[in-house]
């Protein structure tokens, strides 16, 4: 079975706002974002930040076909200016900064020009949107007057005074900038040699944007109380000076400009620079932590919507995907009663596992009849529910071993513990991109004409292949390696070590009611490894469980993480958060990569 590229099919970055609106599903994070204050969305790649940002724009809002659309349009009291980070903004980034390494001042100026030009371009698009959707009727003379102002203030080459030509002039500016860079690199030897005569090199995006907005409001007589939100997306790709500047700006309450920012869960800037969330600043953390069910509900809504699209009517996900016995909350009581599935699993394992036997006896639960009596009901929550996943996993992988040569025997490529709607809602960690990809892959197996359950084995196969695909993505991240004295440690290798450690403890080791499945980044972890673990956070490969309460996180040290549940089919660990352990304990002393030839991407 061939699976599509993991990210590209459902990437909002490729879509126009109108296209995003076609499939947009309202959620609580969006409710936070549309408030009249600064907002920062934090989350890993694919969690939906770009979708939410684009849904602030007028084309998206006016294309959105939802019962809430009208009231939300009326509720939003700002005009959004969506600015996508170009991977090339950062002329100082280590991938290609060597070109300008001899010219640090020039490098910073170039970076600023790139950002400013991009902001201006996005602002022009927003002006066009406001004119189109809100200024009725508009007349071209107003646009001419606005364009003349922009040509002057933004130091553009003379051009036809309308917004489309202003945008063209901005594109020509970047062409000139590119040529200027090339000429500089080959004909100068230091910053002092470089002549910059064009005034546009020194424009500031914030003040110039503000001035342009005032001009727009004056000319078009639009609502002066309406603010403008600069929506900077994917800031983890942005130059450091811009990140610092933007996060610092969140401290102040500008009369005209709001900031809506999106970034990775861990910020790279210094903690002193960032504002403290409060009335004027809202933090939205877009991944599951604590006890919130919001992503469970959101995932279910997405799945239902995909099923409706496939079958052209409402279909209960349980019909298609079934229910997972480990995670299902249905028929709880009967599951643990005599003859129930979990009841049988416990008995089966207790016969073979002395650790479980001891535990049950200690908890005064009959290993031959582990049902709960009326007087013993509390044990259901304190013992049975806790041990349930471990029991199933141990039973399933009972025969999983390695022979003397280290080869796995009786291993199963696709695990049939991974199926059912509950797994679907949980395994993606609230990430819509992964969820849509998985559901679409599973649904390929469905017959359009008959609505019936897709086999557990098929579902498990998709989960397993997705896990492998995700792992392959991690392997390709550039510079996600640490080199030490002829040893190479890769991020993928480290995650594998963590996964294997938890598998050995939870599934193969002595029975523990509270095993470890999360880790703390302890002080034994060196800075080099911290660097690559931060990349893992951005990719969503490791999930921060205890983010700072209503505050930014700047450092992963002393923070608690778990592996993404997407890895669970690969490393055969339950979809559950257990106790924590220092990360250094999960990483062995031996070489992560014994020899170069064994490393496979």
């Amino acid at each position: 079975m061939s699976t599509e590229s993991f990210h590209s099919t459902f990437n909002a970055r490729h879509l126009q706002p109108e296209e995003v609106a076609e499939t947009f599903i309202h959620n609580t994070d969006y409710e936070e974002l549309i408030q009249n204050n600064h907002t920062v969305l934090l989350g890993p790649r694919g969690c939906g930040k770009t979708t939410l940002m684009k849904m602030l724009t007028l084309p998206a809002l006016n294309s959105w076909n939802d019962q809430r659309a009208k009231s939300i349009r009326q509720q939003i009291s700002f005009n959004a200016v969506y600015i996508s980070t170009d991977i090339y903004w950062n002329a100082q980034k280590d991938s290609y900064n060597k070109q300008l390494s001899k010219f640090p001042l020039y490098s910073e100026i170039v970076s600023k020009v790139a950002v400013t030009t991009n902001v201006f371009f996005s602002l022009c698009e927003s002006f066009e949107n406001v004119i189109r959707y809100q200024i009725k009727p508009s007349n071209q003379k107003q646009e001419v007057e606005l364009a003349k102002n922009l040509i002057k203030e933004w130091k553009l080459i003379p051009t036809i005074p309308n917004l489309s030509m202003v945008k063209e002039a901005l594109k020509r500016r970047t062409d000139s900038l590119n040529q200027h860079i090339q000429k500089t690199v080959f004909n100068s030897s230091m910053d002092e040699d470089i002549k910059i005569t064009d005034e546009y090199f020194y424009l500031d995006f914030h003040s110039s944007t503000e001035a342009a907005i005032f001009t727009f409001e004056r000319i078009f007589k639009s609502d002066k109380n309406c603010k403008w939100a600069l929506c900077f997306d994917e800031l983890e790709l942005a130059p450091m000076w811009l990140q610092e500047r933007l996060f610092n700006s969140l401290r102040s309450r500008d009369q005209k400009i709001l900031y809506k920012l999106s970034s990775s869960p861990i910020l790279s800037i210094s903690s002193e620079l960032a504002a403290t969330p409060g009335n004027d600043l809202k933090l939205v953390k877009m991944w599951p932590y604590g006890n919130s069910n919001k992503y469970h509900d959101f995932s279910e809504t997405i799945v239902r919507s995909l099923l409706k699209k496939k079958f052209l009517k409402n279909v209960d996900p349980e019909i298609i995907f079934g229910s997972n016995p480990i995670l299902s909350k249905m028929h709880l009581q009967s599951d643990y009663e005599k003859g129930g599935q979990t009841w049988n699993e416990i008995i089966q394992l207790a016969k073979k596992d002395s650790g479980l036997m001891r535990l049950l006896k200690k908890e005064k639960i009959d290993p031959n009849n582990p049902s709960i009596s009326a007087s013993n009901k509390v044990k259901l929550d304190t013992v049975l529910r806790k041990i349930k996943p471990i029991v199933y996993f141990k039973n399933y992988y009972r025969n999983y071993k390695e022979d003397k040569q280290g080869r796995k025997i009786r291993s199963r490529k696709s695990s049939s513990l991974f199926y059912g709607k509950e797994v679907l809602y949980k395994i993606c960690d609230g990430n819509p991109r992964w969820l849509i990809g998985i559901v679409e892959s599973i649904l390929k197996k469905a017959d359009n004409s008959s609505i019936s359950k897709i086999s557990e084995a098929s579902q498990a196969r998709v989960f397993h292949e997705t896990a492998e695909q995700f792992n392959n993505i991690i392997k390709t991240i550039p510079s996600a390696i640490v080199e030490r004295k002829n040893k190479i440690y890769t991020l993928a290798g480290i995650l594998k070590e963590i996964g294997d450690y938890f598998f050995k403890e939870i599934v193969m080791g002595e029975f523990e009611m509270d095993p470890h499945s999360t880790f703390i980044i302890d002080d034994s972890i060196t800075d080099e490894f911290i660097g690559i673990l931060e990349k893992a956070v951005y990719q969503g490969a490791i999930v921060l469980i205890n983010p700072s309460e209503n505050a930014f996180d700047f450092n992963i040290r002393k923070k608690r993480f778990r592996l993404s549940y997407l890895f669970s089919p690969l490393y055969k660990i339950p979809l559950r958060t257990y106790a924590e352990i220092p990360l250094s304990k999960t990483l062995t002393e031996k070489e992560t990569i014994p020899t170069q030839t064994k490393l496979i991407l």
Partner: protein
């Protein structure tokens, strides 16, 4: 300077040609010196750029000795270094930049993309008196060596100097020239996250085992892309390669930001770099394991090298013209000759 045109030539057409300047690279590959045992080196300024990495390999030491005997002036640079190449060129070309015409030979068989891209960009952007420059690029193919498991990527991004900052929101189209190391292409696609992807690979190659290895080690990617997004090109036929690649880029460039990523044989990489010079909005990326990359012996294939001659010309003169009006019996309308023969 602008790229005027380019041609594929037979080796016999350049064998006895007189060059002003010759660039070579010295590393651990056996084919480093192959070309220079066959051509006319007389009168040329001969510049050798040797890798700082892996300089104690036996073959490398032997190559260095051969180049010294052939009269090459030697410099060293890191495999991904851009600044070091510029420094070398500034040092050795000071006198040469005063000339009006220049005939250059670059054997890029053992160079990294950064090196020969930098050499091209240097001549394009450096202030000089040069009006015309011809650069002949020579590539010596190698005997097939089994692909090894790829080492982790240290670098995945634009080649310095071959990327552009842009102010538009066009989605990305990725066009890859596939190599035979497993899944590198797929990894790049996942990382860059383009809206659409195309792949090229060599078929026919000099050794069919290469084609089999490419298809096997990129099987998942090729299956995802489907036949309409996959193109095959013959290694030694630059015209066909260019024709397919250029036409694809031209059909995409209005709607997409194009990223070319040549991961396989270097002639495709050269075509990519030349195309991005002709159409500056096209970027070229490299994926590299750096100095941790696999070592292949790369014995020279015992046939002729693949030769591409590229002509650059200084950008032309302002227009002057006369007006026609046949009815008023004014002079005939004509453009001056130079404009009739535009710089391409």
């Amino acid at each position: 300077m602008k790229l005027k045109n380019a041609f594929q030539l037979d080796f016999s057409q350049i064998k006895n040609e007189k060059f002003d300047l010759i660039f070579a690279a010295s590393g651990y590959e056996k084919r480093c010196t192959q070309l220079f045992e066959k051509i006319n080196l007389k009168g040329a300024k001969k510049i050798l750029i040797a890798f700082k990495e892996k300089d104690t390999e036996t073959q490398r030491i032997e190559n260095d000795k051969k180049f010294k005997k052939l009269g090459f002036e030697s410099f060293t640079a890191k495999e991904g270094s851009y600044v070091e190449i510029i420094d070398i060129l500034n040092k050795v070309l000071e006198d040469i930049l005063t000339k009006k015409q220049l005939n250059v030979l670059v054997d890029y068989s053992c160079m990294t993309k950064v090196w020969y891209a930098t050499i091209i960009n240097y001549f394009l952007n450096k202030d000089s008196n040069i009006q015309n420059i011809n650069i002949t690029f020579s590539y010596t193919p190698s005997v097939f060596a089994e692909p090894q498991d790829p080492m982790p990527n240290k670098y995945m991004g634009p080649i310095p100097g071959i990327y552009t900052i842009s102010a538009s929101n066009k989605p990305t189209a990725l066009i890859m020239g596939l190599g035979y190391e497993k899944d590198r292409g797929k990894g790049l696609m996942e990382y860059l996250d383009p809206k659409t992807t195309f792949a090229f690979y060599t078929n026919p190659a000099l050794d069919q085992k290469y084609v089999t290895a490419v298809e096997k080690n990129n099987s998942q990617l090729l299956s995802i892309l489907g036949k309409s997004n996959v193109f095959k090109y013959p290694l030694g036929d630059l015209r066909t390669t260019d024709s397919l690649l250029t036409s694809l880029c031209l059909s995409l460039r209005n709607k997409y930001k194009i990223v070319l990523a040549p991961l396989g044989p270097k002639p495709f990489a050269l075509m990519s770099i030349l195309l991005s010079i002709k159409f500056p909005e096209i970027d070229v990326w490299r994926v590299s394991a750096g100095d941790s990359g696999n070592t292949y012996p790369r014995s020279p294939y015992l046939g002729d090298p693949i030769i591409c001659k590229v002509c650059f010309e200084r950008a032309s003169i302002p227009l002057q013209f006369k007006i026609i009006n046949p009815e008023k019996k004014e002079p005939v309308f004509m453009m001056p000759k130079k404009v009739l023969e535009p710089v391409l």
